[in-house]
Amino acid sequence: MISFTSDQRYIVTGASSGIGESVALLLNELGAAVIGIGRSRERLDGMKAKAKYPENVFLEQKDLTEDIEGLPAYVKALKDKYGKFQGMALCAGIGRTAPLNAFDLSEARKIFDIDYFAPLMMTKGFADRRVNTGRGAAIVAISSIAGISCEKGLVTYGGAKAALSASLKAASREVGTQGIRINCISPSFINTPMTQSTPNEELLEKASKEYLFGFGTVSDAANMIIFLLSDKSKWITGQNYILDCGTY
């Protein structure tokens, strides 16, 4: 049984909806303190309203792409405010469907900002010895099946997610000496506000026919993230787990 204590503090990005919200609520239910970061104060409040122990949910309204360079200092400031962190779930992200013939460099850079540079700079901030609790601390990032086996139309998104899991593999080796673990999950299609807002009918139709157990739910991803944040996975680092009911 996985459980946490309220002096174990976890940062969750993208905490106001989808997988991030589910991770934040589950961490809280299992006893941890959660610092939920999201763009919308209103939606963050909505998450907190669903929490089992709202007194252990702390909200930080922030657009992580506003000042990517400043993110390590931001994480350090959060540590000064709340104390050292036991873990971090990097769930903020954006999906975008655009094939090569519609590839737009400035649009692609925006996607890389959100899906690659921001989580990497958050990781840099967290990995600072003065910010985390040391041995036993863990980071989990949401990559994507698109970073491994990419469908049509996901040129940029797949590239950003592949870059993220590759960089975090290197980072896991670097911070391993401090006892910090870093893992990724790579889900295929999961029903979230993000995936619903980026219609890719062709992919949806293919998925609805091929997925053995149907589309994933946010809790399918959240359960794996919680396991990877907890000490039940203390021998696991540098991995990227595919969650796709065996499809790819």
Partner: protein, 72 residues
Amino acid sequence: MTNEEFLTEMLDVLQTEEQLSMDTVLDDLDEWDSLSVMATMAFLEKSFGIKTTMKDYKEMKTIGDIAKKAGL
């Protein structure tokens, strides 16, 4: 860069909560490992335009020795 500014920068480079002085012995710092050496190499190159190699750090004993290498 003044000596004081250099020491402040080194706090971030080494990610240490210790007090640093020019006399701080590198081997006395838990944080002084191969990654810290790489971070210091990057810092000297970025802030001072000085390229160093791993070998240089074998000869350095204190924070002051790094400052000297940086030309302070």
